[in-house]
Structures are given as C-alpha cells and as structure tokens.
C-alpha cells in the first residue's frame, strides 16, 4: 500500500517535473529573466513544487492586476490570510495537507518531523532551510530580550516546551512529552503559528550576529525606540508591514506604511504550480486601496474592486444586486458564513444573585426560554428568510452535524414552554408575569454590546413571545468592555453575543469552545476563569464537569475515532442543556467580484478559521479573463 502510493507520487512528480520543464514563464517576469536578474523557472521552483488541490480548477492565464479595497492600512495583513501559504494547509474539504512542507511525520501528536522542500526559496531568492527554523527557535522565541514570555502559547503543553532539533538542512523536529493536538491546526491557521523567520535577512538586526555599534546605528537611522522594537518591526511576517522582509506568500508587498495604496507583486519563487506545471499565482499584481469602511460597499458596487467581501454585509445586498444588473461591471455571489449562531443568548450560570443563579441553572428554564422564541419569524423579518433557524451548534455541511443538534429545543412551542415553567413552580401574578418564590417578578435584563442593529431588532421580536410565557425582557446596551466586566462579575444575568465561532469544525479541531476554558465564555465566566488561572471555584454542575473532562480527554487522545466520539458527546450535551440559546445561523455573506475573475467558487463558506476567508478557496489560482474574451 505504502509502496503503491510511493510509486504513485514518484510518477506524479516525474510527470510534473517534465511539465514544469515545458511550462512557460510568467510574461511579467520575462524581462527580468532575459536580463539575468532572475533565474529561470526551473531554478526558481523547489525540486518538488507543491501541486495538489487544483484538480477541480481551470488552468488560468497569466497577467492582470487584482484590485482590493480595505478600510485600514493594517488590513494589508489580509494578504497573508488570503494568500494562505502555510507549512500545512487545509484543503477545501478541511483536510490538512502539506503545503510549504514536503511532508510531515506525526507520531501520536507528540513528535512532529517537518521535511522542507529542497530548493525552496524566499521571495528574495535565498534558500529556505532548517536554519530559518533554528533562528526562530534559538534566537527569537527563546531569546529573552526579544520574547520575554518565551515561545508562543500554542507551543506549550501544560507549560512544557517541545524539544527542538535540526536533523539536516531540510528536516527539523519538534517533540513533546504529551500530545499537542493543537499544533497542526495552529500552523495551518489564518493567523498562523510561525515556526520560522528569514534568518539571512533578520540576522542583520540581531545582537548575536552584528556588533552593538551597528545596531545602535540602525536604531538611530530608522528613528526606532530601541533595537527590540526595530527587530520586531522588521520581522512581522503576518502583518506584511515591512516591504523588505522576504516572504513565502504568493505575493509580496512593495509599499511601506503609511500609504493610501499598496501594491503587491508576484513572488517569483512561489512554491506552488498548477496541474500543468505553470507556476502560481496567475495574477501579477494585487493592489489594495484604502477607503473609509462606509464607502466600500458603494465603491464595490461601482466596480472599483475585483474581489470584495470585507466591509460588505447582507445590508448592502439589495444595492449591490441592482448595481450588478444595471452596470454589469460586477457579479455578486452569496457565500455562507460559519458561525454556530449569528447571535446567541447566554444565560449567566455564574450570576451573583442566588435566586437567578439557581433558576438559570435549572435546565427546564433554559429550555423554556429557547422554546418561546419564534425563529421562523426572526428569519423572515430580519434575513428575508435566507438564513437557517437553528440552535447554537455546528452547521449542516459540517461532518459532525446531526439534525437533532439543530432542532434541539429550537422549535416554537409556547405550550411546552409554559408547562416547563409551571413545573418549576414559577407562578404567574395577576398581570400574567411569573414570580419567584419571594415575589420578585421575572424581569430579565439582557445586556448587549449594542454594536449590531440586528441584535436589538431580534431581541425586540423575542420580547413579544417571551411575554406570552410570562417573562418580561428588557435590553440594555452597554459599551463592550463594560458588558464583559458585568458578565464576569455576575451582575449581568443574561447577555447576547455571537454563537460558536466555528460552526464547521472537524473532530481534529479543538473543542475548547464547548467546555469551560476561557473567562470570556459568557455562560460560565467564573468557571472559564478557573480553567485559565486556577482561581475561583471549579464547575459544580455534573454536565459542565463532564464537558471539561471531555475537553481534557480530547487533548490527550491519540486516535481519531476517540476524538470524534468526544466531539459528538460534547455537542449533544450542549444541545440538551441549552447552555446558550441559538437563534439563526447560515446567514449569508455577499462577495462582489469582477465578472472576468475565474476560479472563484459560486458557493462556498466565508470564514476566518477554518477558512482564512479566500485562503482555502485558493486565492492564488484566481485569474482574470482578458477583456473582450468570451
């Protein structure tokens, strides 16, 4: 079996290298190649280029400039997100594939051996080798003055750092004593865990490699605060703010901030090729123009962007659609979003008022509240009926999805809700409002950050149906920081926020957001804080304790079947216990594109993680059909 696949891949590589040998140079680079400034394609590509994931896409033509609009100069980091060149990257089916790496050996999530592509080069033509990893590990991450807190959090398992070793020029190894299942998702993330730095470039700013006087001089020349600031400013790989920093992304930045327009040029050493051996990307230049976020929909509508989803929302859809029909300069696609619930209501199980705390911890109460919401009405009124009525759980195209998760306590059933509340002994007064045993009325104040109109609109609709079960709802808009602090302290009984951040997880992704792990989980901030810092009290509800146990078990597990079972159980607990009341998910994201832009999927998921927005849809394979071509 292994032999067969080996033969297979050798065959594929042989085919490919003959294809590369015949593939034409991008015309954009021809002049530089002719003048000898750049070596030929064969020398620029790694010995074995990355060629997967393009089977379903059309083979493009080189050329063109793609225009993007962004609101802030900091947003140019999106080019790292969209470009999505990672050591390991998710493909469109959310499976991890080697990308920058040739291959990766994983022993029980404990020992990871990374094999680089021989001959892979940075965008400035220098070789990308194990030295770049060593430089990062020894001279940046574990060099106290530069990283006072040590290597990134994601590299620690129970506070333990991995052992790092360089095997040869093209092989490095990270080994932990305990499994670190977050390691691979992190390096494949949209804002990835970087394990390397361009050593050849950055050594010029590092005190271990140059004399103090030289560094002093540079600090002075660049008007920097100190050498640490200077080094960090030069070394920001994710943010793209230093045009001189070599990159492994499909395009490199040529414009320093501050600027109003940024020009990204094709990386002549990019490691991916299409199925015919042509080097990617197809598009020569990407320009980013800054415009105020409120003008971006208007500009996109008049065809001033070739690919735009950022700063555009469903509110703009009708305008964009009419612009599409009128001018024919744009095409509007509707992609799915991946939040577990666009907006969810969080009962605070750590509320400081004992009466409320007890009531909110009663599952019957949470179920009754969920049943007393007419999600169909919300969908029709606010989302033109285009969204999906669902509990706060995974989405239908997620492999972990089950209809019972979506529908659990999410139907509209006033009768059953009333029955549950009656059962709890919450009697109605003469005005129809239910009362606690001590006579206080059940007036729920839901605290919102007041940042989205749809939030307040939805709560207004829910108010009517909750009234029918004898509960009065009031909303209170607070500044976001104040909101959080009130939830943390238990003053806020209930709050609204977005639902599960990732509605399309696979069992290989961490289920931490389902268990008490962070203080900013609004349904159990105190337990989250306990997990984070060890302060306060641990969860005292059996189901929540079970969630914490399952999360730990997932971290330690070494096989996929086990991880799948854990995910299933956790999702089921959430569905049954209604720790958050989901309303609507599957809302849509308009994507405005130039009608000439090819290889953009008609229907896809627009999401940060997993997804990297356009990243997993292979932004590097998008291409512009020449004008006039049919």
């Amino acid at each position: 079996m292994i032999l067969k696949s080996l033969i297979h891949s050798i065959f594929a590589i042989a085919l490919l290298s003959s294809a590369v040998a015949q593939a034409s140079e991008p015309p954009y680079l021809q002049a530089q190649i002719d003048s000898g400034e750049l070596p030929t394609l064969y020398e620029r590509l790694p010995d074995i280029p990355a060629f997967g994931g393009t089977e379903h896409l059309s083979v493009g033509q080189y050329g063109g400039t793609l225009r993007l609009l962004m609101a802030k100069s900091k947003d140019i980091r999106m080019m790292t997100v969209y470009g999505y060149s990672r050591l390991m990257a998710l493909d469109k089916n959310l499976q991890l594939q080697p990308d920058i790496l040739l291959r990766l050996e994983n022993e029980d999530n404990r020992v990871f051996t990374l094999h680089l592509r021989k001959g892979h080069r940075w965008s400035d033509g220098e070789l990308f080798t194990a030295e770049d990893f060593r430089f990062f590990w020894d001279d940046v991450a574990n060099f106290e003055p530069l990283s006072p807190y040590g290597p990134p959090q994601a590299m620690k398992v129970d506070g333990q750092l991995p052992e790092f070793s360089v095997i040869d020029d093209y092989t490095v190894r990270f080994s932990w004593k305990d499994p670190n299942p977050n390691f691979l998702p992190e390096i494949a993330g949209p804002s990835p865990l970087y394990l390397y730095r361009p050593a050849h470039y950055l050594k010029a700013y590092h005190p271990r490699y140059v004399s103090e006087e030289q560094i002093e001089q540079q600090v002075e020349d660049t008007n920097s605060k100190n050498w640490r600031k200077l080094f960090h400013n030069k070394a920001r790989q994710y943010k793209f703010t230093n045009p001189d920093l070599p990159t492994l992304q499909p395009w490199y930045n040529t414009t320093a901030i501050p600027a109003e327009r940024f020009v990204f040029k094709r990386n002549p050493y990019f490691h991916r090729v299409d199925r015919e051996g042509q080097q990617l990307p197809y598009i020569d230049e990407v320009t980013i123009q800054l415009a105020s976020s409120s003008l971006i929909p208007a500009k996109a509508g008049s065809g001033e962007s070739d690919l735009q989803a950022r700063n555009i929302s469903m509110d703009d859809y009708t305008f964009l659609k009419s612009a599409e029909q009128e001018s024919k300069k744009i095409k509007v696609l509707l992609w799915d979003t991946a939040l577990g619930s666009q907006i969810a209501i969080y009962p605070n199980l750590n509320a400081s008022d004992p009466q409320w705390r007890e009531t909110l911890r009663d599952v019957r109460f949470r179920r009754a509240l969920s049943l007393a919401i007419n999600r169909h009405e919300l969908n029709q009124v606010i989302y033109f009926g285009l969204a999906r009525e669902s509990a706060n759980t995974v989405l239908p195209h997620c492999p972990l999805f089950d209809t019972s998760l979506k529908d659990a306590w999410a139907g509209f059933d006033i009768e059953q809700a009333n029955a549950l509340l009656d059962d709890m002994g919450l009697e109605r007064g003469s005005d129809g409002i239910r009362r606690f045993a001590d006579g206080r009325k059940l007036d729920i104040i839901i605290q919102t950050a007041g940042e989205k109109n749809e939030e307040t609109d939805m709560l207004e609709l829910i108010k009517d149906t909750w009234r029918q079960v004898g509960i009065r709802l009031y909303t209170k808009a607070l500044q976001r920081e104040v909101l959080r602090n009130r939830v943390f302290s238990g003053q806020a009984v209930m709050s609204v926020w977005m639902g599960l951040p990732n509605g399309i997880p696979t069992a290989e992704m961490s289920p931490a957001s389902l268990a008490p792990t962070r203080q900013d989980q609004l349904q159990w901030p105190a337990w989250g804080r306990y997990a984070e810092t060890g302060e306060g009290s641990p969860p005292d509800i059996p189901e929540v304790q079970r969630l914490a146990e399952l999360n730990d078990a997932w971290t330690m597990s070494s096989n996929s079947a086990q991880r799948l079972a854990i995910w299933d159980e956790m999702l089921k607990i959430h569905a049954e216990q209604v720790y958050s009341i989901g309303l609507i998910n599957g809302t849509l994201q308009p994507v405005v594109i130039n009608p000439r832009l090819q290889n953009v999927p008609e229907k896809a998921v627009y999401n940060w993680d997993p997804g990297a927005f356009f990243g997993i849809h292979r932004f590097d394979t998008f291409w512009l059909k020449p004008e006039g071509a049919s």
């Binding site: 225009r67 990134p152 949209p190 600027a259 327009r261 320009t287 415009a291 003008l295 001033e304």
Partner: protein, 331 residues
C-alpha cells in the same frame, strides 16, 4: 510692544498645559484602552489573538502604568519634539502626520480661496444694495450652503460625480495615480476629485462670511466720513474700497486665529464621508481606537496653532488698525 508680546507668550504656556491635561483625560475617559479596541476589532472580523501577546503589548506600550505616569511620559517627550508612537500604525506620530499634512494644506488653501472668492463680492454687493432682490437672492443661496448638512451634500455630490462624470468614488485622485510621481495626468485627476470637497466645505463657510462682511460694511457705510467723501465728489468705487471696506476688514484679520488650525485639520466629517487622505479622518480614527499618542499629539498641535493664530491676529490688528494702536498708547 515687546513687553506685550512677552506677556502674551508667557500666558500661552499655562493655557497649553491646561489643554494638554484636558486632552489626555478626555481621551482616556471611555472605558478600556487601545488594546481593548484592537481586540474588539479583530474579533468583529472573526480573528483572535493570543492573550499573552496582548499582555506583552500592554507592557510594551506602557499601558499598564498609572495615568499620571503615562501623561508625564507623553508631555515631557512632546516638549522635546518627540510626539510619541502610534499604536495603530506602529510608527512615530510625526511620520504619519507629515504625509497627510501636505494634502490637507493644499485642500484647505483652495477651499479658503474658494470661500473668499465667492463671499467677498457677494458680501460687498449685499451691503451696498441693501434689501434689494439681489441682496435677498444671494444671501438665500449663501444660507442654502450653510443649511444643507455637509455630509449629505458630500454624499449627493459623490453620487452625481460618479454617475454623470464617472469619477471614482471618494479619495483625492484616481487610485492608479496614488503611488505615482506628479504628472499632468495626476494633477488633472486631483482637480477632478478636489472640486467636490472644495464646493462642499466652501459653501458651508460662505454664508457666515457674507453676513459678517455685510454687517461690518453696513456699520461703516453710514458713518459721516463716507458722506463727506461722497460730498467731495469721490467716485463710489474708490470711496468704498479706500475707506469703509478697509475698516470692515478687522473681523477678517481676527479670523486668521481660527483659520490656522482649520487649515491643518481640514473638515473632518466631510473628509470622512469622502474618504479623503487628509488629517481629519486620521484624527477621528485615532480617537475611536484610543490611539492616544496620535490623537493627543494631533489635538495638542491644533491647540498650539490656535493659540499662535490668536497671537498673530492680535499682533496684526495692532499693526493694521491705528485705533487699536493709539488706544493702547494713550493708556
């Protein structure tokens, strides 16, 4: 005179200090700090950030120190010409402002010129033809400009320019010229875009100017010296420009004080609506993000210009208007 100047300059220092404290307090008033806003912004797009990184950044930016320490750090450096460091841009403040300052000054210069060119003739005409149809008509137009909210007018002009002239929406020039050196094409593109902010900001200022010029001139026109000059047979035009108009210009000189800061700040709201690369949107964004050194230093800079502008106005009035000069001397 020199004594007067010195005392004026001496009183400027406590004024500026008081302003600096106010600025600092007001920027710090909303809960949270720059990093909180930063995290919020990331989260609203679905991104997240390592809490450890935030802690490191907070220490790095000195946001964990008490307010008084932060204030002292800022103001003591400001005096030495170090305007601080922008969190948002990760650059020294001076570097970020410098770039936008030029475009702002150019735009403000043209806008002011535009306002004067319109307001002056109308003001003079209105005063000399008091209560005529022309006076009413022109004043009405001026008031229209004042009454239409700038942002609304700006939006309408954007639509018109894009729809009928095909100008790209917002900005100071077509995007392809942004990083190009100056050329005829670029200049043309700038002019194509500049007339909108010029018109919008300009019209809002004309009414006030027309009315003030008219009122001041009317006061003078009925003074006996005008009558005398007319009786002696001086031509109407010369009579007007030589005496009453000169007298009526005092308000104009007094205006220089407020003009100076506005040349640098540009009209913030219009600039935001039109997405102009001027300093206004920069200031607004900095305030929203609690990017305190950028916002603080910029506001401080404006305060400084206001104070200096006032001084310049006073000195000019002193030099230009003998009434003030002699009043002072006779004391």
């Amino acid at each position: 005179m020199i004594r007067y100047l010195l005392t004026r300059i001496a009183t400027m220092i406590p004024t500026l200090l008081a302003i600096s404290v106010l600025i600092f307090i007001i920027i710090q008033l909303p809960p949270g700090d720059y990093l909180e806003t930063y995290i919020a912004e990331l989260e609203s797009q679905g991104e997240s950030i390592d809490p450890q990184k935030i802690a490191a950044l907070r220490a790095d930016y000195g946001l964990d120190k008490p307010l008084a320490v932060q204030y002292w750090h800022w103001i003591s450096n400001f005096v030495q010409g170090d305007y601080g460091y922008s969190f948002e841009y990760e650059r020294p403040v001076a570097e970020i402002m410098g770039d936008r300052l030029w475009l702002t000054i150019i735009l403000s210069f043209f806008t002011i010129l535009f306002t004067w060119l319109i307001a002056f003739p109308i003001g003079i005409y209105s005063a000399t033809h008091k209560y005529s149809w022309g006076d009413y008509g022109l004043t009405f137009v001026g008031f229209l400009g004042l009454a239409i909210p700038n942002f609304l007018f700006a939006l309408i002009m954007l639509y018109v320019a894009n729809r009928y002239f095909g100008t790209s929406i917002g900005g100071m020039m077509d995007p392809e010229y942004l990083d190009q050196p100056w050329s005829w094409g670029k200049l043309k593109s700038v002019l194509e875009h500049m007339w909108i902010p010029m018109l919008v900001i300009g019209t809002s200022g004309t009414a006030a100017m027309i009315r003030r010029l008219r009122a001041n001139l009317l006061d003078e026109l009925h003074k006996p010296y005008v009558l005398t000059a007319r009786a002696k047979g001086m031509s109407e035009v010369k009579n007007l420009t030589k005496y009453p108009l000169r007298m009526a210009l005092n308000f104009f000189i007094a205006d220089i004080g407020s003009l100076l800061p506005s040349v640098v700040s540009g009209a913030e709201i219009v600039a935001v609506v039109l997405s102009l690369p001027t300093t206004g949107p920069l200031l607004l964004a900095a305030l929203q993000a609690q990017d305190m050194y950028l916002a603080g230093s910029f506001l401080m800079f404006l305060a400084l210009l206001t104070v200096i502008g006032m001084l310049v106005s006073d000195v000019l009035l002193f030099l230009v208007d003998p009434r003030i000069r002699f009043q002072k001397a006779s004391k």
